[in-house]
């Protein structure tokens, strides 16, 4: 991934900043700049999510693309944030710990690197809340 493509998304990826439509109240993460329901009459503002949520579904990735191959196996999940939106992220826990309904909170972690000397990508992962 190019440096500019990654830097553009730093606020969202580092601090879980998405958006909210002030017309209908819906939250969006990943952020949307157009409300799918209100379209042009929607008024979109930034919103920082509190970072807590619930695992909706998950898998354990055993075979990955080159960027992620040295981190397998890892738990990948769809997490529903308490404010409503869902996102796809890794959960830093043992594969056998993962379950539907598990409570998680977001943390700032290394996600991947572009080769050995390439740019290191940071972003949001989740950890079980009980820890």
């Amino acid at each position: 991934m190019s440096v500019s493509r990654f830097w553009r998304k730093i606020p969202q990826r580092y601090n879980l900043i998405g958006t909210q439509c002030m017309t209908c109240g819906q939250y969006f993460f990943p952020p949307r700049s157009l409300c799918p329901d209100c379209r042009r009459s929607g008024r979109i503002v930034d919103h920082r999510f509190n970072g807590e949520g619930t695992v909706v579904t998950y898998t354990v990735i055993r075979s990955a693309s080159d960027q992620f191959e040295n981190t397998t196996p890892y738990v990948l999940a769809i997490v529903e944030l308490d404010e409503g939106p869902r996102l796809t992220a890794q959960v830093a826990c043992a594969p056998e710990e993962a379950e539907i309904g598990m409570r998680v909170r977001s943390v700032f972690r290394r996600i991947a690197a572009d080769g050995e000397s390439g740019v290191i990508h940071y972003g949001t992962k989740f950890v079980p809340v009980d820890r």
Binding site: T57, T59, S63, L76, T88, I111, H121, G123
Partner: protein
């Protein structure tokens, strides 16, 4: 709008075709389709080609012009257009050809699909296929394409009584059908044990739940129905063409285990053809993973949600069953050259309706195809009949 018919089909052998280039593949499929329609190249008015990612698989773009050129049509200067919707590129190319003929804009149109996937290593192909989903918000987090379908399977198995063994029966059935298809990548029979003892790719999906990496091409010739008899004694009519879209990312769907785009496209196709499920004699569905076939059968409305696993294990979807699903062997056994798959599905249904499917022949007058892009962000459904 004019009625449209398919008058010629052609398909290469599917597999790891080390000695065949991208160009070899589409020239072979195109030649077979033209021979089948009994026409020569100068009769072609337009060409649509489905291709997902030649840019990453073989570092070649501008596929429309390339194909017209190497098919020997450059001097005729016909319009040639590449169509892309990830794994649904082929079905969408066919739909564009149907629209072009139905509208009266063109008369003799070739719809083709081609993908050459084995010139890159597994890591690159896994990464390229992940581009069918949301690169910024799924791929960035480490989502692979099998991983996304695995999350569908986890959700599905949590909510419905699908067993791991029933899921494996999808692959067993498709290999059985593939063993009777001379173009299939895998022509070997397997057992439930073969699936359950293969390595985990993304829990709960194992290697034998996944369609393979495949080279291949397919092509069909589409003409106005009123002219079809000029080309063949057994034209096959296009009874409906439907397409639907949904969110690019799986996490934004209304329901993780239902492909709403499949529901919408399936409904529209049946409405337009004024047919019901009982009229459909076979269906080629997009089984990129075993769980995808389970969802497809249900979301197309052939049974209620939660029942497809049991019906598969009971043989209802086998060649001799009430509703044969994937007589070709599907993506699992016949292979999945992503851009070609949707066109191959049309070839299979046409071959079945003509009664030319030999060992895998089912009793068929009307058939359906179902081609999915990504995890269900694009779905194309066609119904064809004698």
């Amino acid at each position: 709008m004019r009625d449209v018919a398919v008058v010629g089909v052609g398909c290469t052998e599917f597999g790891e075709r080390w000695s065949a280039s991208f160009r070899d593949l589409f020239v072979t499929a195109g030649t077979l389709a033209l021979e089948d329609a009994g026409i020569s190249g100068e009769r072609i008015d337009a060409l649509y080609v489905g291709n997902m990612s030649a840019g990453r698989f073989i570092e070649q773009e501008h596929i429309g012009a390339l194909i017209a050129d190497f098919a020997g049509l450059a001097t005729n200067h016909i319009p040639s257009t590449r169509v892309e919707a990830a794994c649904a590129s082929g079905g969408l190319a066919f739909r564009q050809a149907v629209i072009a003929v139905a509208s009266g804009m063109e008369d003799v149109v070739v719809a083709a699909g081609v993908e050459k996937m084995t010139d890159v290593g597994t890591g690159v192909s896994v990464d390229t296929l992940a581009g069918a989903a949301d690169r910024e918000w799924e791929g960035f987090a480490g989502a692979t394409f099998p991983g996304l379908y695995a999350m569908i399977a986890t959700d599905y198995m949590h909510r419905y009584p699908l067993t791991r063994e029933q899921l494996a029966e999808v692959a067993v059935k498709n290999h059985e059908n593939g063993s009777k298809n001379p173009i299939a990548q895998f022509q070997n029979r397997i057992t439930v044990d073969t699936v359950l003892s293969s390595s985990l790719v993304a829990d709960p999906l194992r290697l034998f739940d996944c369609s393979p990496i495949t080279d291949g091409a397919a092509a069909v010739v589409v003409v106005p129905l009123e002219r079809a008899r000029e080309f063949t004694d057994s034209p096959v009519r296009v009874l409906a063409s439907a397409q639907a879209s949904d969110t690019i990312a799986l996490h934004d769907r209304r329901d993780i285990s239902t492909l709403d785009a499949t529901v919408a496209a399936g409904k529209r196709a049946l409405e337009r053809s004024r047919l019901t499920h009982r009229d459909i004699d076979l269906v080629e569905v997009h089984d990129c993973f075993t769980i995808a076939e389970i969802c497809a059968i249900e979301d197309l409305g052939f049974c209620a949600k939660g029942e497809a696993g049991r019906l598969t294990a009971e043989g209802v979807t086998a060649l001799g069953g009430d509703i044969p699903v994937n007589p070709s062997g599907g993506l699992k056994a016949c292979g999945h050259p992503v851009g070609a798959t949707g066109v191959k599905q049309i070839c299979e249904v046409v071959t079945q309706i003509r009664g030319e499917a030999a060992g895998r022949q089912v009793d068929a007058e009307i058939g359906m195809t179902h081609n999915v892009g990504g995890t269900g962000a694009t779905v194309v459904v066609h119904i064809l009949g004698a």
